[in-house]
Subunit: 150 residues, 2 copies
DNA sequence: CCTCGATAATTGAAACATAAAATATTTAAT
DNA sequence: ATTAAATATTTTATGTTTCAATTATCGAGG
């Protein structure tokens, strides 16, 4: 369905307005679907995002501020996300030795284990995106990069 | 900057993974910028979304469920959004005569007035998107439609 | 015209997000 | 060595979202 049909708006002011609405709509569409997968594992998309970042660094620790910088949603309260993950024993946290203001976070074996189960489910879900070709996906990606280029 | 640089992830599993992350990231990027505009008028993006839908119908009223269906964020609690708009006298609400379960909502003159001031600001902001051509914007839009095509 | 399932909207409680203030530490400048 | 500004994180207060439960009404089938 076209964005026109989906949000029942017949006319747009410009291609840019249509694109903006389409991007937000499509991003929500993706996130709701993924949320259903995350829910089975009792985590949120934001928590998954943190775990993915931590795995990328493993076995090195990473500071809270560096996590915040890499998040898809820059406004997330990273401190509290980590609190939640700590309670579930998916991450460890300790004061950074070089800079005692900072806090080092590292993913636990339990956290890595959880991701190992989640990965194939996310990968399987991604097949839903194959309505466009890999080339088209790369084309959109590069146009989005150009769009944001500040 | 490429999404690789923005979220500091060097490798992606597939063009589809990169696209997914890029879409969510870019949608957040857009929404944070627009939020700065909405804030001056003391409304949120969700409230703006409702007002835009109501203006599209004006002077006809529209049911709460129809608003919900057209929202970009389907999970929004439309009832409570309308509560907020009602307090600010931007909308009116009354029981629907044909179906007494339903509630008809309509935008007020004050609401239309607010949009009239906001419009040029949003339009001006949209010029930021002109780093891509109108043709490229339409191309992304149609590929996103194809991507979601369920 | 009565019952039952479906639909429309609202609410309550818990979880979560946001913005601003607070705390602790580092860095840089005198 | 002392102060001031900057940085890293946490907390507080407030507002928003979410999920499930609730209330009210409609419409179809007996």
């Amino acid at each position: 369905m076209s964005i026109e049909t989906d949000i029942k708006q017949k006319k747009f002011r410009s291609p840019y307005q249509r694109l903006g609405l389409n991007l937000v709509y499509t991003s929500n569409w993706i996130q709701y679907q993924q949320m259903d997968i995350f829910r089975e594992y009792d985590i949120t998309s934001q928590q998954f995002n943190v775990l993915r970042i931590l795995r990328g660094q493993h076995p090195s620790p990473i500071k809270v501020s560096d996590i915040a910088e890499r998040m898809l949603d820059k406004n997330s309260n990273t401190s509290r996300l980590i609190d939640k993950l700590l309670v579930k024993k998916l991450v460890d946290r300790k004061s950074c030795p070089n800079d005692r203001r900072a806090v080092d976070v590292i993913i636990t074996e339990t956290g890595l284990e959880l991701l190992k189960h989640l990965d194939p489910e996310i990968e399987a879900w991604e097949k839903n995106l194959a309505r466009i070709t890999p080339e088209e996906a790369d084309l959109i990606s590069s146009l989005l990069d150009k769009l944001r280029n500040s």
